[in-house]
Amino acid sequence: MSNFMPMLYAFWDSDITYSFRKSRVAVISALVLLAMFLTAIFAPSLAPQDPFNIAELDLFDSELPPAWAEGGSAAYLLGTDTQARDVLSSIMYGMRISLLVGFASVILAAVMGVALGLLGGFLGGIVDAVLMRIADVLLSFPPILVALLINGILRGALPSSAQAESALIVLILSIGLTNWVQYARTVRGSTMVERRKEYIEAARTLGTGKLAIMIKHILPNVLGPVLVIATINLGMAVLTEATLSFLGVGMPPTQPSLGTLIQIGNEFLFSGIWWVVVFPAAALAILVLAVNLLGDWLRDALNPKLR
Amino acid sequence: MSLLELDNIVVEFPTRRGPLEAVKGLSLDLDEGEILGLVGESGAGKSITGAAITGLIEPPGLIRSGEVRLRGARIDNLPADKMRRIRGKEIGAIFQDPLTSLNPVYTVGEQLIDTMRVHLGLDQKTARQRAIDWLAEVGIPAPEARLDQYPHQFSGGMRQRVVIALALCAEPKLIIADEPTTALDVSVQAQILSLLKRLCRENGTAVVLVTHDMGVIAETADRVAVMYAGRLVEIGDVKQVIEEPLHPYTRGLMASIPQIGIRDRRLTQIECAMPGLRNPAPGCAFAPRCPRAMDHCHSIRPAPQDAGTGQVACHLYGETS
């Protein structure tokens, strides 16, 4: 451990950490995201109310405006909806789901994309050709459409009774299966470059199996850009999930994500209870904004051309 | 009066860890019609000197002090639009890579005609004819047809000819040529150099020829200035500097050029490498590598003094030897 402190210092002093410290935007976004993550993880303890536990709801308190408005109550900071559910608590739980789906789908897409990219780049030949054709076709369609389609197919394949419970898995699969292509392409490119390098030759002559070569040697060297793609992808994944939920084919009202909350609130737009829509929408926007800003900064910081 | 004077130029780049001086107190002058070679290793500051003359140093770099004078009048502190008028019309420039120097989506003719119309106020017809003449002048066959072709339809050497035509078509009195032949095939280099030399002689155009290749200088230049770590170390007539170099660095440069006919077992090198530009040590920058360094070379920086056919900045010459 004797070289840990110097390593830590080198990291703190390195260009990338410096660039982070210098960029107010990056730091603020990171803090905001951290706050949101923590809220999401600890929602059950933090939220003033569990909005899905009917026992905790008091219908008398429905349709209350936010605490600072006339008629509001401090117990319900951001107001309540038509079924007396606390908007703030709903947002906390909703963020939990939104982030869960977002992360899970990004991980799925990344794992799938990296694996396929490694395979295609390393094995070449017909495997690569087929993979690239599929990737090309997928990329020529807008992601929302692909996600909708996969979602539709998966839901259709399930009996309607199981649809509500499986919504989470279905969503993660739909979004993950849509977004793997970017990872695959980048990793494939890097793999093809690495594959020709001498240390791979050396490993091959030593008799190392193909799988081992791919995982132990090539993989660590092609992971760099994956992080940047993943960050940008996270924002997109959260947005896609929100959109699918809003359209009614995502998370159901019994287990709502931020998108579902917005959809529910939308129905009451004309009846004047704006807080049921505006606050979840704001939370969603801030979340995606923070992710995008952080992703932008990361991409610029890691861009060799701008150094 | 000289055509161009650089008076104690200091070019500075602010960086995260403090300002960095790429050119430290450089002075030289150039007469009308003269071809001056500016030679040195990568990072010596020669390209930046060229950029300082045309006023095209990339921000945040800037000329911290010193003056650039064209025919006696200061040009380094001119407002942007006045400087723009000088560029092209009085001072032309040629860069290293002919492929990227030409805009790929416009024909060669359009680029020539635009330049001439901006500076010489010609009408379309006259400009077009002039452009054809220029293409012929730089040795491009069938110029009339080629005028309407795109840069990618020309080979590398041809492109550089077009670049030369573009630089000269507004009839400037001075050209800054930054490594004009480095990106070309060896067989083509000689042709381009002789073309450049001929055209400049014919039109009385002075040239600052920036390069790291002494061979190019020997072929083309009248005088040569040697730069090291952002400073001028020697300047003089080409024949003298090449055959009897004064500064130990120049001597090292000359000695390290392999000569045909002489069989050496090892290539001569100058030991170590040029120092980084940050936190320069006191004294002569070359002292750590100099085979003839004396004690005070490490503490007192030598100023350029008259010697040979020009000047040299070395304690071996002048009063302090």
Binding site: P142, L145, L269 | R84, N103, G157
Partner: protein, 328 residues
């Protein structure tokens, strides 16, 4: 050029075949046409007859062939939801989506390109900084949220513009248009803005990034060294280089507009193909889903091919693949 065209057309046909095959698989394995098309109290015999009538007892390959042949003619059978021919439904809804998409595309281009150029040329001005922020919001705030906000402000609070429907439309033979009535135009405004906003910010960012990249290029440096005035430098020399890739990307994005129209149509209850598709997904109305998929894929493939062609014509470097560099 001709060979290129043929190659692209074959590629396009292959993609369409793949898409149609996926559609066929959907038909085969999703949902149950029989229970959807027959009333609840149909007898076993009714069902058997229906199976025969629909040709569901034939070998798979035969069904596949029949499906492809029908699809090529635009026949996708009946919608499960409302028992009408799918092609009729789509044809009815097509003009609504088309008009919306066209107006939105025009808006996005007309605003996005000039603003992108402006922010590239004046990166530090306050307007540029402001636009940068707005563009960041534009791609972070989900489109349906912008739509809802628009409705909140312009329909609920101010009451100026309608929040659903197409207004009054005029029949022009097979096409119905909202362009010719005041209420039609009014109804078009908010949805078009919502749809255009995302694209506009995308284009703005794209143009800006592309132009900044171009302005750093050597040929711009050389033009500057030749004393080319700024106006000409930016608007002649840098602009063309910027717009060529931007145009092609925009063309490819048109497909995205059609997809995003789904969301816009849902928010504004706009009677277009997108709204139809969402209802179909909700209901698992497979024929409509499949038909929408094939139709939209077809549109994409056509657009992609056209864009490729255009790019080949616009960029002189690609045009001259047949005239190799000569000379020394």
């Amino acid at each position: 050029m001709f060979a290129f065209l043929i190659r692209r057309i074959i590629q396009a046909a292959l993609v369409m075949l793949v898409v149609a095959s996926i559609a066929f698989l959907m038909f085969r394995f999703l949902g149950d046409p029989i229970s959807n098309l027959l009333p609840e109290d149909a007898t076993v015999q009714d069902r058997a007859e229906m199976r025969e009538k629909l040709g569901l007892n034939d070998p798979v390959l035969v069904q596949y062939g029949r499906f492809i042949a029908d699809a090529a003619q635009g026949d996708f059978g009946q919608s499960y939801r409302n028992n009408r021919p799918v092609s009729d439904l789509l044809a009815e809804r097509f003009p609504a989506t088309a008009e919306l998409v066209l107006v939105a595309a025009g808006l996005a281009l007309a605003l996005g390109v000039p603003l992108g150029i402006y922010t590239a040329l004046n990166p530090r001005g306050w307007l540029s900084q402001g636009l940068q922020v707005i563009s960041l919001l534009g791609i972070s705030v989900p489109t349906f949220v912008t739509g809802i906000l628009l409705i909140l402000v312009f329909s609920v609070s101010l009451g100026w513009l309608p929040s659903f429907g197409r207004g009054k439309v005029v029949d022009l033979g097979w096409w119905t248009t909202g362009f010719l009535t005041v209420s039609g135009l009014k109804a078009l405004i908010l949805p078009a803005i919502m749809l255009a906003l995302f694209q506009m910010t995308l284009i703005m960012r794209l143009v800006r990034a592309e132009m900044l990249e171009v302005l750093r290029a050597d040929y711009i440096k050389f033009a500057k060294a030749r004393g080319i005035p700024n106006r000409m430098l930016h608007f002649k020399y840098a602009l063309k280089n910027t717009l060529i890739p931007v145009m092609t990307i925009f063309g490819l994005q048109l497909g995205g507009l059609i997809a995003f129209a789904i969301i816009t149509e849902t928010v504004f209850q706009w009677p277009g193909m997108g709204f139809l598709f969402i209802q179909a997904v909700n209901f698992t109305d497979v024929p409509v889903m499949a038909a929408y998929l094939v139709l939209v894929s077809f549109i994409f493939v056509v657009i992609n091919t056209l864009v490729d062609l255009l790019y080949n014509v616009a960029d002189p470097r690609l045009r001259a693949e047949r005239t190799p560099a000569r000379g020394v």
